[in-house]
């Protein structure tokens, strides 16, 4: 297992870009990668795309100072609504999410806690999606949120976004 430097700040885009709105997380990461070229404050942030496999997530974020997970979720109040959650809020195994093999993000967080592998701070930026079928286009309401959510994720990992609990 690789040894991670201290103070790691990571943005992880969860999803599959071939499943419509599920591609939101990877697209936010792509937008951040583009920003990173012109925003030095983002230079140290790690950017990853993940399918949500719990074991890989646990390895990816173990020992990190801050992890920002970006994901599209089924349900929610209305397509295109953004939720910002801190780790305690997602510490409930939940069904019906667009996650891998029935192990939801909440379960993964709980598993990480049981194994002592939670990052010091974990923030989830979730957007309520509408279409999870095959294809590469996001729903318009979700597509409109790629840049704003990338900006918010960038603020968080750059330390300029304030306390996420206060957001």
């Amino acid at each position: 297992m690789s040894v991670h430097p201290p103070g790691r700040r990571i943005v992880i885009g969860l999803g599959n870009e071939y499943r419509r709105d599920d591609g939101f997380g990877p697209l936010v990461v792509a937008a951040l990668a583009e920003r990173r070229g012109r925003e030095p404050r983002l230079a140290a942030a790690e950017l990853w795309v993940s399918d949500g496999d719990p074991a890989r997530l646990l390895d990816l974020w173990a020992g990190a100072d801050l992890v920002v997970l970006v994901d599209a979720v089924r349900g929610g109040d209305q397509p295109g609504r953004v939720y910002e959650l801190v780790v305690d809020d997602v510490d409930r195994p939940a069904g019906g999410t667009a996650s891998s093999h029935g192990i939801s993000l909440g379960s993964t967080v709980a598993l990480a806690r049981a194994l002592g592998r939670l990052p010091r701070r974990l923030v989830v930026l979730a957007v309520s999606g509408r279409e999870f079928g095959f294809g590469v286009d996001l729903s318009p309401q979700v597509a409109a949120l790629v840049e704003p959510v990338a900006r918010r994720a960038g603020e968080l990992v750059a330390g300029t976004g304030g306390d996420p609990r206060a957001a």
Partner: protein, 432 residues
């Protein structure tokens, strides 16, 4: 306990990975009236998605069908396209493909064993609950899984949906010294894999046996993974080129997935138990020894014991990965050119959960005019339904909750993608 003569178990699911599944069981007059495993398989749509694409694209596109076994899709796609174009790959490239595939077997099998299936045998509702009581066990599973992950990352460029695979080989092949660090990881993994076999061998396995025909690839001299001809326990043998003459798919009303059957013979099963039963003699001595010590005989016809077979195959995959690394000589070029030509190509490989068949028809410019993908899950669907019926018949005295749980465990015996669906499910009991 309940002895209601009429009842319906309805288990519905939403899942995004390889399959979307639901379970429906109806009991009438004290007998099982109807059992349906309803699966909505993405690959059907991918076949249309592939039409009009270039012949170089299927490895990347089909890898997206499954986050757990993308390598299987890449390997079957490459084999089929190279077959269509009449281009064999360098043996060193073929060895690297096998190494990559070993990484996927290790990852996928370990995920299934530790996070999906073992909790059933130990009386835990999930891996989380197992971790709360036995952190050491889950840690061991995660460490073993990570070894497969490391192989994928090194060869595939990243752990999910590898980007280094291309038709004809790899974009870049590693230097021997780059593979060397994997040796230590895999040596440790071998110990963990052997521990895993001993652990799962001690589970309590319900008595259940089936007599389905098994189908798997076979490569004389070694356990089939990335290539081979098709063999069955019914004595049939044919090349992937003739797969569609022997395997027929039918539409059934309750599922968008097709039900596969062997022409003139009926349902059959692919997967670890099929591979083991047909290829046990090609396992390594250590894996064979582990299998024997775990109580596996010459064949495995109790689906509950598939978890033991997965553990044995994990031992084999770790050993095989070590062997390939030890013998590795980099190819002269990372890939061979695969110029397009008009034709049809066939490819079959052993995904962790069974044979995965691809067929592509190309036009002279290399554009795909038709594609066909037969994933293991849909091949197993009919046999699983038949087994489920027998599972239920033997457990009609259970109440709905217990019966549903037992059915879910039974489904998890076969395929982690379906178990995925069942983990999600809200249960609705429709009392007649």
């Amino acid at each position: 306990m309940t002895h209601r003569r009429d009842r319906t178990l309805e288990v519905r699911a939403l899942a995004r990975v390889e399959g979307e599944g639901a379970m429906h069981v109806r009991v009438r007059g004290g007998a099982v009236d109807d059992v349906r495993l309803e699966i909505y398989e993405p690959p059907r749509f991918f076949e249309a998605f592939l039409r009009g694409r270039r012949h170089t694209e299927p490895p990347d596109i089909t890898a997206r069908i499954c986050g757990i076994c993308p390598v299987a899709y890449q390997m079957s796609a490459c084999a089929a396209i190279e077959d269509a174009c009449g281009v064999p790959v360098d043996p060193a490239v073929a060895a690297l493909r096998r190494l990559l595939y070993c990484g996927e077997w290790i990852e996928s099998h370990t995920l299934h064993i530790y996070l999906l299936h073992a909790p059933d045998f130990l009386g835990y509702p999930s891996a989380l609950h197992l971790a709360q009581d036995r952190r050491d066990l889950v840690e061991r599973g995660l460490a073993l899984k990570r070894a497969g992950n490391d192989v994928l990352e090194l060869l595939g460029g990243r752990a999910i949906h590898p980007v280094n695979v291309r038709v004809g080989g790899f974009y870049r092949t590693p230097l021997p010294r780059e593979l060397a660090p994997l040796r230590d990881t895999l040596r440790t993994a071998l110990r963990l894999a052997l521990d895993t076999v001993r652990w799962v061998a001690g589970f309590d396995f319900p008595e259940f046996h089936h007599d389905h025909e098994f189908l798997a690839l076979s490569t004389p001299g070694r356990y089939a993974i990335e290539s081979g001809s098709v063999v069955t326990t019914g004595g049939h043998g044919f090349s992937p080129r003739h797969f569609e003459e022997h395997v027929v798919e039918d539409q059934v009303p309750h599922s968008t997935a097709l039900h596969a059957r062997l022409a003139g013979r009926g349902s059959y099963l692919v997967g670890p138990a099929a591979r083991y039963t047909l290829n046990r003699r090609w396992l390594s001595p250590l894996a064979t020894q582990a299998a024997t010590a775990a109580g596996l005989g010459p064949d495995c016809r109790n689906p509950y014991r598939s978890i033991v077979v997965r553990a044995v195959e994990t031992v084999y995959a770790v050993e095989e990965a070590l062997r390939i690394i030890d013998e590795y000589e980099p190819p002269a070029r990372p890939y061979v050119d695969v110029p397009p030509r008009a034709g049809v190509g066939y490819g079959a490989t052993e995904a962790p959960r069974g044979v995965l068949f691809h067929r592509y028809r190309l036009d002279p410019d290399g554009l795909i005019t038709s594609a066909r993908i037969v994933p293991p899950t849909s091949q197993n669907q009919a046999a699983i339904e038949q087994d489920l019926r027998r599972f239920v018949e033997a457990r009609l005295d259970l109440d709905d909750e217990h019966l549903t749980h037992e059915c879910e465990q039974a489904i998890r015996n076969y395929d982690p993608c379906i178990s995925c669906a069942t983990h999600f499910l809200d249960l609705t009991v429709d009392r007649a």
